[in-house]
């Protein structure tokens, strides 16, 4: 019984992702947009785990594992972004 519900739960989670897109589009700050990638990562992991049970492909679990393993890369790359855009930059060397 539960197995037959799996694709519909995936549909529901995908609808959640679509709603999350609205926040990324609206903003208003860069932090909000980064938050959307976090939502995408967590929800994608849930979707992938459900898919591995639905499609009976155990290897998809490793895809989910890799996604959570490397999910912080984007936040780490973003964290280095200057907080204020008018900060003076380094000079060209050429």
């Amino acid at each position: 019984m539960t197995v037959s519900v799996l694709p519909w739960t995936i549909v529901f989670l995908l609808l959640n992702l679509g709603a999350g897109l609205w926040r990324a589009w609206k903003g208003p700050t860069d932090g909000d947009r980064l938050l959307t990638t976090l939502l995408f990562a967590t929800t994608s992991v849930a979707i992938l785990l459900l898919m591995s049970a639905w499609l009976e492909l155990p290897a998809i679990r490793y895809v989910a594992l890799m996604l959570v393993l490397l999910a912080t890369i984007i936040s780490l790359a973003f964290f280095g972004m200057p907080a204020r855009a008018s900060k003076s930059g380094d000079q060209a060397d050429d």
Binding site: P7, W8, I10, V11, L14, L15, L17, G18, L21, A24, W25, G27, D30, R33, L34, T36, T37, F40, A41, S44, I47, L48, M51, S52, L55, L57, A59, I60, Y62, V63, L65, M66, L67, L69, L70, A71, T72, I73, I74, L76, A77, F78, F79, G80, M81, P82, A85, S86, K87, G89, D90, A92, D93, D94
Partner: protein, 312 residues
Amino acid sequence: MSAPLAVDVLLGLILVGLAAQVAIGEHLFRAIVFYVAFGLSMSVIWARLGAPDLALADAAIGAGLTGALMMVAFRRLVEIDPKQAQAQGTRSSALAVLIGVLAAGMVATIGLTALTLEQQPGRAGLQVMETLGDTGLGNPITGVLLVFRGFDTLIEMTVLLTAFVGSRVMTTRSRFYVATIAGFQLPLVRTLVAVILPLAALIAMHLLWIGSDQPGGAFQAGSVLAGAGVLLLLTGTLLPASKSRALVRLALVAGVASLCVLVLAPMLRGQVAMAYLGRGSLLFAEALMMVSIATSLTLLFAGRPSLKVGRP
């Protein structure tokens, strides 16, 4: 509407929505963020299509590496000149829209026509599945990469090496690249590194080992290691260094060298080039390829010829 169709349509709509934001959205930073989400969705789509090998590679590269590369490059532009970094100069025109629509129509026509064609009985995919048993491998993709189309993989590794050499030439005169250190001093980040580094190494080894029979292999394992390398660079655990080291150079050429050996070794034994040598030799070559892929992608991200250990 049936559930699988609903999943496909929704996935497709989300992907197209993200692509639209990447391609025609107004701000560059937003486009990069949407591109990251695009990469994540791409990996879900590969899983949906039953291609876990591609999903594994795209989970590390499409979602992690490419997004981080774009973000860090954008950061460098902002650091050099914040006013010009975002400057767009977009010139929207009816002609561009027309060309875009025509291109989409062309791809749709080609794709939909190709779908209606009858399946050829002797096509490469079927032959691979038939002869795979002779090689003793269980994963047809590893078979194609290393046995049936090994020359392509050799060229692919060469392209990777060339991209590294090119990018090294481009960045050699610029100022020392101060890595985007996200505060190694933060205790949370330190914990993250301590947890993720061993796990990434473990998963890479696992993917390499099972790659002969199940989804996995050198490319996927190399992408995980490259992702971990980028994470180390971003946290300042590893730092870019300008003094080249012999070990790093060896790691860079190991993949090409191992494939060259796979090509030449059978000739020494009087067989044709690229003749199949057995599972052990493939695993050895794959291990070296993994090291090469991980090293070159990490160094491409660092933009410097070498790495050194950062001090916390």
